[in-house]
Amino acid sequence: MTTPPPIAVRGLTMAYGSRVIQRDLTFTVRRGEIFIVMGGSGCGKSTLLRHLIGLQTPAAGTVLRNGQDFWALSDAARDRIKRNSGILYQTGALWSAMTLAENIALPLHQFTRLRPGEIRDLCAFKLALVGLAGCEHYYPSEISGGMRKRAALARALALDPEMLFFDEPSAGLDPVSSRRMDDLIIELRESLSATIVVVTHELASIFAIGTDAIFLDGESRTIIAQGSPKDLLNQASPLRVRQFLTRGGATP
């Protein structure tokens, strides 16, 4: 028996009220993949992410997590799936009234039976993993934006999730930090054998880390291309996709 894919989306339509953002999305994220969701600004990339992690209910269609319809599950089962997903929000979304160590420790305190000493070690280790060793006692407002983002990644990794979601991981980072973030994402996939979904429009990242991708089109409001980013560059893919991937350089 083959294990079901971690995420499968079938005929998903996303809407705010009567305003449809994207319709009829169907795709599958396979285990161990770094799956890129790309598209122009405002085409619904982040909204799709909110649907995948269960913050928003679909207007139509289903989101299958490990082969089960996410919204047909019981609350307890849904919580289990949520706990198995680490999410890096666009601006970090660290809890501003807690130190970095407390930010990482909160899910550990809530969902594991580790001793305080172990939790402390684990927090220190996760921070070291993202290159922030020794920053346990800083508050989010006391560190730079790039460090905040890395700290948020350490929090996302707290529970050793099988699924990782990144919303614009390199937005607001300098090229070197952004490259480090990409390396970290690849490293996490290989070392933890995690499945990773990345929402981004950063071309360098798309080509560096993506193993599979979908392109959400803002005009036709659906997926117009699907495949590995390098394959999408060839002439067979729609012009809008090629223009996106070449910063407008492609010709019909």
């Binding site: 580790l114 070690d121 070291a128 290159g131 060793a133 920053c135 800083y138 050793d160």
Partner: protein, 381 residues
């Protein structure tokens, strides 16, 4: 050297050292399920013999691992590094080895601020300077506000009239219901309590004087002030505080729009204009509450109550009350906006700003009431 090891119980993880004294090499057998839920050895165990020169791992029986194995190995790595022990890290699972390397890679640690230690006298001085700094902050804020008001009088303040109108609606008409409720009940309570001693003397009719002087001069203003401090003062602190936390105030300032004129001034003007009006309304409703008690509980007629009220209550009482309201409006607006502007950059700081806005405006109002009462009595107003 490799003898067969005992089978491991499910749900446990073990780390056993095989030490060969002749070659001074050790093999650490990591076995079982190294995950959060499993029973597993403490970091730092087993103790490595001092003479040991090299160490490698045997992970043949390792059935699963997560971060708990990594913290164990991280500790081991620090220890081995300290003892300059040669360790064959590549005998670990490839993923674990890479993550360990990543964790011991370079880290950006912000420079820790040196914290000097102070003597007892130094601490007293430090505290005094801090307290003086807070006084200076308040004075600066009030001074800037006065300048902003002057600019407004000359029509040069940078504020939007729509903001001012909106703030007036929020601080005025939208507060009518709660002021009416509190004012009416206050009149009712005052009349009931006053009726007890007045009945001893058969002087029930004087309840009208009590209500007239008590509500118009003092209680109407105080109750309106307290309600507005909790309602509007807190809202100002929370609004401006979260704007400060989100760098929205910095954004205004960097565009050359002074937050004092754009944010504080409309709120200050709205509240100082609206509070006397709300106070007047509160007075009316309060007297109505007293009238209800007078007519239905003390069996006075409406005319008796009215005449007694008119004979003993002066117009000055009403004006003192309204003046008090006007002062309250300024105090609440200043406390709310000041705490909001001073707010830090975290969600907790917004809460503190709100709390301290309400507390300080109530304290200021009580002090102001005391001062106004003493002065008016001394001046025989």
């Amino acid at each position: 050297m490799t003898q067969s090891l005992p089978a491991i119980k499910p749900g446990t993880a073990t780390a056993e050292l095989d030490y060969d004294a002749a070659s001074q090499t050790g093999v650490l057998h990591l076995r079982g399920d190294w995950r959060q839920k499993a029973r597993r050895p403490e970091p730092g165990s087993p103790v490595l013999p001092l003479a040991m020169g090299s160490l490698r791992f045997d992970c043949a029986d390792l059935t699963g691992w997560d971060s708990t194995l990594l913290i164990y190995l991280h500790e081991l790595r620090r220890h081995c590094h300290y003892r300059s022990l040669a360790v064959a890290w590549d005998t670990l699972p490839a993923g674990a080895n890479r993550l360990l390397k990543l964790a011991s890679g370079s880290s950006t640690t912000p420079q820790a601020m040196p914290t000097p230690t102070w003597s007892w006298l130094g601490k007293v001085g430090l505290r005094s300077l801090e307290a003086w700094g807070r006084v200076v902050d308040v004075l600066t804020f009030v001074g800037e506000l006065v300048l902003a008001c002057l600019k407004f009088l000359f029509g040069r303040a940078r504020l939007r009239w729509s903001d001012l109108a909106l703030e007036m609606v929020k601080a005025g008409p939208q507060a009518l219901a709660i002021v009416a409720l509190i004012g009416f009940l206050m009149g009712l309570i005052l009349a009931f309590i006053g009726a007890i001693p007045l009945k001893w003397f058969g002087a029930e009719v004087y309840v009208a004087s009590l209500i007239g002087i008590g509500i118009l001069r003092l209680m109407g203003a105080v109750m309106t002030g307290v309600v507005m401090a909790g309602r509007t003062g807190a809202a100002y602190a929370a609004e401006l505080g979260s704007m400060q936390a989100n760098e929205e105030i910095d954004a205004l300032e960097s565009m050359g729009i002074p937050p004092m004129e754009f944010l504080v001034l409309p709120r200050f003007l709205a509240l100082t204009a609206m509070l006397p009006l709300l106070g007047l309304f509160g007075d009316l409703v309060g007297v109505l509450g007293g009238l209800v008690v007078g007519v239905f509980y003390l069996d006075l007629t409406f005319m008796q109550f009215w005449q007694q009220l008119m004979q003993t209550t002066k117009l000055a009482d009403l004006f003192v009350g309204l003046f008090t309201c006007w002062v309250f409006g300024m105090l609440i607006a200043v406390c709310g906006c000041l705490r909001g502007i001073q707010c830090g950059r975290s969600s907790e700081a917004v809460g503190q700003a709100t709390t301290s806005a309400v507390v300080s405006s109530i304290v200021c109002m009580v002090i102001a009431t005391a001062a106004i009462t003493v002065v008016t009595v001394a001046l025989k107003i």
